[in-house]
């Protein structure tokens, strides 16, 4: 069995690991830190043109059902958020805008801004009113951890029952394991429960957790919290890698590598002043005036070495690749599609 090393545990790294494992590779996934997937809204903004079925299968999860198609939701400040795929409680089908919304914030916590969001919704001709639930949640405590206990959910359902509206917009509160609580809450309070679209919070973390667990279920060996510090290259072929975690350094023999380390935002590419560069010192980086679009050069899916030749067994995926026209917010779909392309490129070898 061929052994693949995948570096990076965000969307691109987990999806390519999962695809490779399904295709019979032995896969080791090495990742560290917080991938940008975990900073995202946990929704797929743009429609995948490639591998839609594989994406749906990869993201399928019993406790957190997905909705796809032309979807619309409300950001935590009240602006409209359109996407193609989201957790079921994050969005509605475009055109089926709720008639009236109670925007429910929690006192002392900035995760959903009820007054700002209501003012913005009213400006968009959606009837909305702000509510703030007392019972102070200190702003430094992540909301999800305040809502681990059943009593907190009982209290919330009781409060929400009193509101005479069709839909209730709440802050993003739940982890992946707790997602079913939103269904329970909907049942208890008899209103549609909508979760505000929130970056840098639990929705992104949920998605990252889900993806990593799917890779694990597919048989991928996951080395979390470790870093690939060096790649051994012979004649444009990577034959091994050094993986460091704490005091422990290991050498790994590999037949193929996918770099899905992320862009400069998460330190996947080194950013010095306004220039990005390759932390391994092996591959060519396309520089660009806009640092957002700089990244690894590739040729038919394979990375290009510093001499300009395509590597034989190293592909790239996700934000670490150079991208001519990366749009804000479309990164997840692109990451998944590029992971699919990377796997195809390696299979072709």
């Amino acid at each position: 069995m061929s052994h693949a090393l995948v570096v990076g545990k965000g969307a691109a790294g987990t999806f390519s690991s999962w695809l490779l494992a399904k295709r019979g590779w032995e896969v080791t996934l090495v990742g560290r830190g917080t991938p940008s997937t975990a900073l995202s809204t946990g929704c797929l903004r743009s429609v995948p043109n490639l591998c839609r079925a594989a994406i749906s299968e990869f993201l399928n999860n019993e406790s957190m059902p997905w909705a796809s198609g032309e979807r619309e939701g409300i950001s935590r400040i009240g602006t409209s958020y359109r996407c193609w795929m989201s957790p079921a409680h994050s969005t509605w089908k475009q055109g089926e805008t709720p008639k009236s919304i109670a925007v429910v914030g929690l006192d002392g916590h900035p995760s959903l801004l009820p007054r700002v969001a209501s003012a913005l919704l009213n400006g968009r001709k959606i009837r909305a009113a702000p509510f703030t639930l007392a019972g102070q949640v200190p702003s430094e405590v992540p909301l999800a951890s305040s809502f681990r206990k059943d009593e907190a959910w009982e209290d919330l359902a009781e409060e929400l029952q009193k509101m005479s509206v069709e839909t209730i917009l709440i802050p993003s509160l739940v982890t992946l394991q707790d997602y079913h609580r939103l269904d329970q809450l909907e049942g208890r309070c008899g209103r549609d429960v909508l979760e505000a679209i929130t970056p840098l919070g639990s929705p992104g973390q949920r998605l990252a957790d889900l993806m990593l667990s799917k890779a694990g279920e597919a048989g991928v060996t996951i080395w979390d919290g470790r870093k690939v510090t060096a790649l051994d290259v012979k004649d444009d072929v990577v034959v091994g890698a050094t993986v460091v975690g704490g005091m422990d350094a290991r050498h790994l023999s590999v037949d193929a590598v996918i770099l899905a380390t992320g862009g400069p935002l998460v330190d996947g590419l080194v950013l010095k002043e306004r220039e990005v560069s390759d932390p391994f010192g092996k591959f060519r980086v396309v520089r660009s005036a806009a640092p957002l679009t700089g990244g690894y050069d590739s040729l038919e899916g394979m990375l290009v070495n510093t001499e300009g030749r395509a590597m034989v067994n190293v592909a790239g995926a996700g934000d670490c690749l150079s991208s001519g026209s990366r749009e804000y917010g479309s990164g997840l779909t692109e990451a998944l599609e590029s992971a699919y392309r990377a796997v195809r490129a390696l299979e072709g070898t």
């Binding site: 602006t79 900035p110 200190p138």
Partner: protein, 507 residues
């Protein structure tokens, strides 16, 4: 609305004049088109000059600075940090300049003390070790927002009326006198025509534009200067280069950051504050010659100001000031030139002249009376000291028992925002930022702006979209040159604001 004196411009000069006149019992009204410190009063390094910088070239300004430095320390200690200042000479500098400098300071009465290189390095460890001479002076850092607000508050308690966000749009001149001034008020509700006996034009860089409304001209040498804000305090003292005033030779530690300054180029207009990439490179290169560690530090943002210099402009122009009026509008008195450190003196001279015109014989009191009642301390803790530094005597009105924080970069309490909004002058997010510092830290208001906005909507019913767009646009102007870690922060900010919230993309 009738008033004896109408003052146009809510920078340090205008606010100082309002306070001075009000303390002399003169009925006056101050109008500011934006927020206080809209122009150069908010676009400078926050350096309380000892006078050293001007001693060689402009001894009059140097003496004025030295005197006013002492006055401000006694009347407004809350907004000043007594950091002291160092003038340092490097091997590549002209060795004879240090002696010329010492002689000039002595004759201009600018106090100074020479340190040995060893003493200099001990008191300022980040200085380059090759420093050859070091002179210690009475420079300090000053918070211009807090200073001007204190002048406004004190003017009000002495009876003056002061309105920000009120722009003068036109003047009617009859028989060589301004008889009517037209005003556009952002709040609404204030009469749009003012009838003054005397108009004081203290509009700073806009002084010529205001004079034109009355058919007069004030030739100015507008001059843009760029500054770079570094995260954290990088030195203990204000650090100056001991050489003829040039670009990039001042480092000022202030609040939670350090400001590097400055540059000089002719400005095309009063609001031509744009900072170029070359300016940023120059500021880092020049200041790092004195303090090499600055190269490795995180630059948060840039900002610019336009110096309202007397005609000629540039580094050679006098930092002194002038009062001008002519027969085309005999009751319009324009003030041009000057600098933050000497704002009170300018205000005194202008007020003397105004009182002369009005036949009022009261004497100036602004150099003797403290700016507002003494700040009531809430202990010596760092948070309490920070509140006093920002709000002066109003610090005691902040409810410190509510520990909720809205801006984690600058540790701004929710109750500070509430207190500032209650005081009434802050209409926009940027207004709140200038008073509380919420949004001035390294995240540049990325997240706290939303929390502050929530409080504003709750208290004032502010329109969230326009307020937010205006604020984020203003912050973004300072981030165009971001690099390194600050660029990563900026990328995240743009992902969230544009990608998720859909802000900034709207037409």
């Amino acid at each position: 609305m009738r008033t004896d004196v109408l003052i146009i411009g809510g920078g340090a000069t205008g606010a100082g004049i309002a306070r001075d006149l009000a303390l002399r019992g003169v009925n006056c009204l101050l109008l500011e088109m934006g927020d206080f410190c809209h122009g150069a009063s908010g676009g400078n390094h926050g350096l309380l000059h000892s006078g050293g910088r001007y001693a060689v070239k402009d001894p009059t300004s140097a003496s004025e600075c030295a005197l006013e430095n002492a006055v401000l320390r006694s009347i407004a200690p809350f907004c000043i940090e007594d950091t002291g200042g160092l003038f340092v000479s490097l091997p590549e500098d002209d060795p004879s300049f240090a002696d010329t400098f010492i002689g000039s300071c002595r004759s201009a009465d600018v106090p100074l003390e020479e340190l040995t290189a060893r003493e200099a390095l001990r008191s300022e460890p980040e200085l380059i070790s090759s420093v050859t001479r070091c002179l210690k002076v009475d420079d300090g850092s000053i918070d211009p927002f807090s200073l001007v607000q204190a002048n406004v508050d004190d003017a009000r308690s002495a009876g003056a009326r002061v309105l920000n966000h009120c722009a003068v749009t036109g003047m009617t001149v009859e028989k060589g006198m301004v008889v009517e001034v037209k005003v556009r008020d952002r709040r609404g509700g204030v009469p749009s025509t003012m009838v003054p006996d005397i108009v004081v034009n203290a509009a700073g860089a806009w002084v010529d534009e205001v004079a034109k409304l009355a058919g007069c001209r004030v030739p100015m040498g507008l001059d843009q200067g760029s500054m770079l804000v570094m995260d954290g305090r990088q030195c203990r003292h204000v650090v100056n280069r001991l050489r003829p005033p040039s670009n990039g030779d001042i480092v000022v530690p202030n609040h939670t950051s350090t400001v590097l300054g400055t540059t000089s180029r002719p400005a095309g207009a009063p609001d031509d504050v744009a900072v170029s990439g070359e300016d940023v490179d120059l500021l880092i290169r020049e200041t790092a010659a004195m303090m090499p560690s600055l190269r490795a530090r995180r630059a948060i943002r840039t900002y610019g100001g336009v110096r309202p210099l007397l005609s000629g402009g540039g580094r050679e122009a006098s930092r002194s000031f002038a009062m001008l009026n002519d027969e085309r509008a005999g009751n319009l008195l324009s003030v041009a030139g000057g600098k933050l450190t000497t704002y009170r003196l300018m205000a005194e001279k202008v007020s003397d002249r105004v009182c002369g015109m009005l036949g009022n014989r009261s004497e100036c009191r602004t150099h003797r009376e403290p700016l507002g009642p003494p700040a009531e301390g809430k202990g010596d803790s760092i948070p309490a000291a920070r509140l006093v530094r920002k709000y002066g005597s109003l610090a005691s009105s902040v409810d410190t028992t509510d520990t909720r924080v809205v801006c984690s970069c600058e540790q701004v309490l929710r109750s500070e925002v509430t207190a500032v909004l209650k005081a009434g002058d802050a209409l926009t997010l940027a207004d709140v930022m200038r008073r509380t510092r919420a949004g001035m830290g390294y995240c540049q208001g990325f997240d706290c702006s939303m929390s502050v906005l929530e409080i504003m909507v709750e208290q004032n019913g502010a329109d969230p979209v326009s307020s937010l767009s205006e604020f984020l646009g203003e912050r973004e102007r300072g981030l165009g040159q971001a690099s390194g870690d600050q660029l990563r922060q900026e990328m995240l900010r743009r992902h969230v604001l544009i990608g998720v919230y859909g802000l900034g993309d709207r037409e």
